[in-house]
């Protein structure tokens, strides 16, 4: 069994009357890419800040690499790399100087540090820009520099707090590929985001947070199996008599139908040939229809069903 890298037990954090973390617990094993998914204000960043001992908490315990995490756990901190949502680089220093500075906070040996900086520059693909000042870099390159500053010391645990916010798709894919590569090279990753597609794409295990609580945890398949909806069939149809809709609703595994005048949505729970059966009913009734598509549930569906709110519609 792989060792536990992060253990959060019963964490409570209050801001006055507001409960930011409500008895939150978590365990992350070595080698995982662990996703913390939740809407803005769900407590993801507060969890990270508490984990890094940058924020006091009211109750609970946090262990990292098997040791209690405190503000003076410098040895533990030196094995953690942090990449935050905001780009934290020094405008007055060049790309190389920035990486060297932040790496130097962890790696004191000059020769080793140079090796680390060279590696980080190569890893994020900034070889052609190493003497540029950050202000001369595009948004995507700046994000890459931000990542390089956080990983240059080759940490065992990497925490990424929404690193792809306001990043173009090309740079986003590169960042996600980079995270997976770091994980393959042995780093355990904690990845927070409110972009479910990203979390679904790279995370081996996911915890869904809402209002400071963990509402679900597991692999993406485990999470999807927690909900009733296993398949959503959508058919573009201009006319749907009520008796035909009732017949569709009575098909095996169908538990919900929705019709808005030109689009029928049928939600199924389990079953293998739902689409064929539904189309069979329409053909039998000799009704014409347009495009047909079948979708497997997403994490948004999981979130929707568990919390009753769509992930992206949630308010802070």
């Amino acid at each position: 069994m792989k060792p536990t890298v992060v253990k959060i037990d019963n964490l409570v954090k209050r801001y006055g009357e507001l409960v930011a973390l409500d008895h939150f617990s978590l365990e992350i094993k070595e080698g995982e890419i662990f996703g913390l998914l939740g809407p803005n204000g769900s407590g993801k960043t507060t969890t990270i800040n508490c984990l890094l001992s940058l924020l006091a908490y009211d109750k609970g315990e946090i262990e990292v690499f098997g040791k209690e995490m405190t503000p003076v756990s410098y040895d533990t901190k030196s094995q953690i790399g942090v990449i935050m949502q905001n780009v934290a680089v020094i405008d007055e220093l060049s790309v190389r100087e920035n990486i060297d500075y932040f790496c130097g906070l962890y790696v004191l040996d000059k020769a080793k540090r140079k090796e680390c900086v060279d590696w980080a520059i190569g890893f994020v693909g900034l070889e052609d820009f190493e003497n540029f000042r950050p202000k001369k870099l595009s948004g995507g390159l700046l994000r890459r520099l931000n990542i390089a500053c956080g990983i240059a010391h080759k940490p065992r645990l990497i925490i990424l707090d929404e690193p792809t916010v306001a990043v173009d798709p090309q740079s986003r894919n590169r960042i996600l590929e980079g995270i997976q590569q770091l994980n393959r090279e042995g780093a355990t990753v904690i990845y927070t985001s409110h972009y479910m597609e990203e979390v679904e794409q790279i995370c081996t295990r996911i915890a869904i947070m809402d209002k400071g609580r963990k509402v679900a945890e597991g692999t993406k398949d485990e999470l999807k199996s927690m909900i009733r909806n296993t398949e959503s069939v959508t058919i573009e149809i201009l006319e749907l008599p009520e008796d035909v809709r009732a017949k569709i609703a009575s098909q095996p595994h169908v538990y919900e139908t929705e019709y808005d005048g030109n689009k029928l949505t049928v939600r199924c729970s389990g079953g293998r040939h739902n689409l064929i059966r539904i189309l069979g009913v329409l053909q039998e009734a000799e009704l014409g229809f347009g495009r047909v598509y079948s979708e497997l549930p997403t994490l948004n569906d999981v979130f929707l069903e568990i919390t009753g709110t769509a992930l992206r519609d949630s308010k802070e």
Partner: protein, 388 residues
């Protein structure tokens, strides 16, 4: 030493803005030194005056005599055009024509428009000539009233007005300034420039390091807060040291002085004030204000303190109320120590020690305030963890 090195690099990038202040100050310093040297040379100005005496009486001759003393009297020119040209090209400063009947009118007690005069520029020199003529008319009138005849009155007026006034300037300006004194003037204005250069460069650099995201990233690392703070303080001290040393060396070079004896107290005094500027910058930057606010605070601290404490205006000319307020600022004690060394107020070892000690106390207080602010802003969060 990562923080130390990075901070110096940031400071280097801010250096051009400080150069403007430094260069301007040195230029003004050089100018002051030159001006001070010239100020002590006094010479009598002689005007070139064309005098035409058409009256040829004892009175008119007396007035010609008075004008000729201390001025160069030129014979009448050939034409009026020549006179106009001469006045225009300033080969002649003033022209006086004594018309016929001048003596009669003067004896009759007239005082207005007795002479025909011409000049182009209104200056202290022309005013002086007119004043001289006016004086003669009044003095002559006074002697006539006393019963002297016209010849006697003319002669006595001539004698009375021929005596040069004895001018004695009852300030330190009477003596030529020594190099030490010009050096003290240089050092008297130093607080302003030190505060400007230190605050304008150090604050923005410190603010870069205190930015929330940079600070966050630093706090996440394995570096100990004490080590981080010490490195920042050391780099700041190095910068202040270089700036201060530059001023001390250039000050000596500009004034041709070698530091000896009491001048070392001047140097120590300026070092303490430079250090105060440094800790003030550290304190201000803890609140991470914007560049505009830093500029505002720089002007407020430098100009405000310098005006209030006697850097720009001599403390001896300032009111007691202002000085009693100024005592709560280090620049007051800086200037006071300088005045003691310069002999403006009685020198005493105790007074010097008090002035330097109070400045040192200001430094300690601001260091403590800065450390306290740092602790409450950054280190305090997680330490306040409650065990439930």
């Amino acid at each position: 030493m990562q923080v130390f090195k990075a901070f110096l690099k940031i400071l280097k990038s801010k250096f051009p803005s400080a150069v403007i202040y430094i260069v301007l100050f040195f230029l003004v310093g050089m100018l002051m030194t030159k001006t001070e040297a010239k100020e002590n040379v006094w010479e009598k100005t002689q005007l070139k005056i064309v005098v035409e005496d058409l009256d040829n009486t004892p009175e008119s001759r007396a007035i010609v005599d008075i004008i000729s003393k201390g001025n160069v009297v030129i014979a009448p020119l050939e034409s009026e055009d020549d006179l106009t040209d001469a006045l225009y090209y300033t080969t002649v400063d003033y022209a006086v024509t004594i018309p016929k009947g001048f003596a009669e009118r003067l004896t009759a007690g007239e005082t207005e428009n007795l002479l025909d005069t011409s000049h182009i520029h209104e200056s202290y020199a022309t005013a002086n000539v007119e004043m001289l003529i006016g004086k003669f008319v009044n003095t002559y009138g006074a002697y006539r009233l006393l019963g002297y005849d016209s010849s006697e009155a003319s002669a006595k007026s001539n004698t009375a007005l021929s005596e040069d006034a004895v001018v004695e300037i009852l300030t330190k300006e009477t003596e030529a300034k020594s190099s030490n004194e010009t050096l003290l003037i240089f050092f008297r204005f130093l607080p302003y420039i030190l505060l400007c250069v230190i605050l304008n460069m150090l604050c923005p650099a410190l603010i870069v390091m205190s930015k929330k995201d940079i600070r966050f990233r630093t706090d996440c690392s394995g570096i100990r807060p004490t080590s981080y703070t010490m490195q920042l303080f050391t780099a700041s001290a190095l910068y202040i040291g270089v700036i201060w040393l530059t001023f001390v060396v250039v000050g000596a070079a500009l004034n041709g002085v070698v530091y000896t004896g009491r001048l070392w107290l001047v140097v120590l005094n300026s070092l303490l004030f430079a250090l105060f500027g440094g800790v003030l910058a550290l304190f201000i930057s803890e609140f991470a204000p914007s560049e505009t606010v830093v500029n505002l605070l720089t002007q407020l601290c430098s100009l405000g303190m310098c005006f209030l404490c006697g850097v720009f205006v001599d403390q001896s000319l300032m009111g007691a109320g202002v000085l009693s307020v100024a005592q709560f600022l280090p620049a007051y004690w800086y200037v006071r120590v300088l005045r003691m060394i310069g002999g403006e107020i009685p020198f005493s070892a105790g007074g010097i020690a008090m002035g330097l000690g109070i400045q040192a106390a200001f430094i300690v207080v601001f260091v403590l305030l800065t450390l306290l602010t740092r602790r409450s802003r950054y280190a305090g969060f997680a330490l306040r963890k409650k065990t439930a």
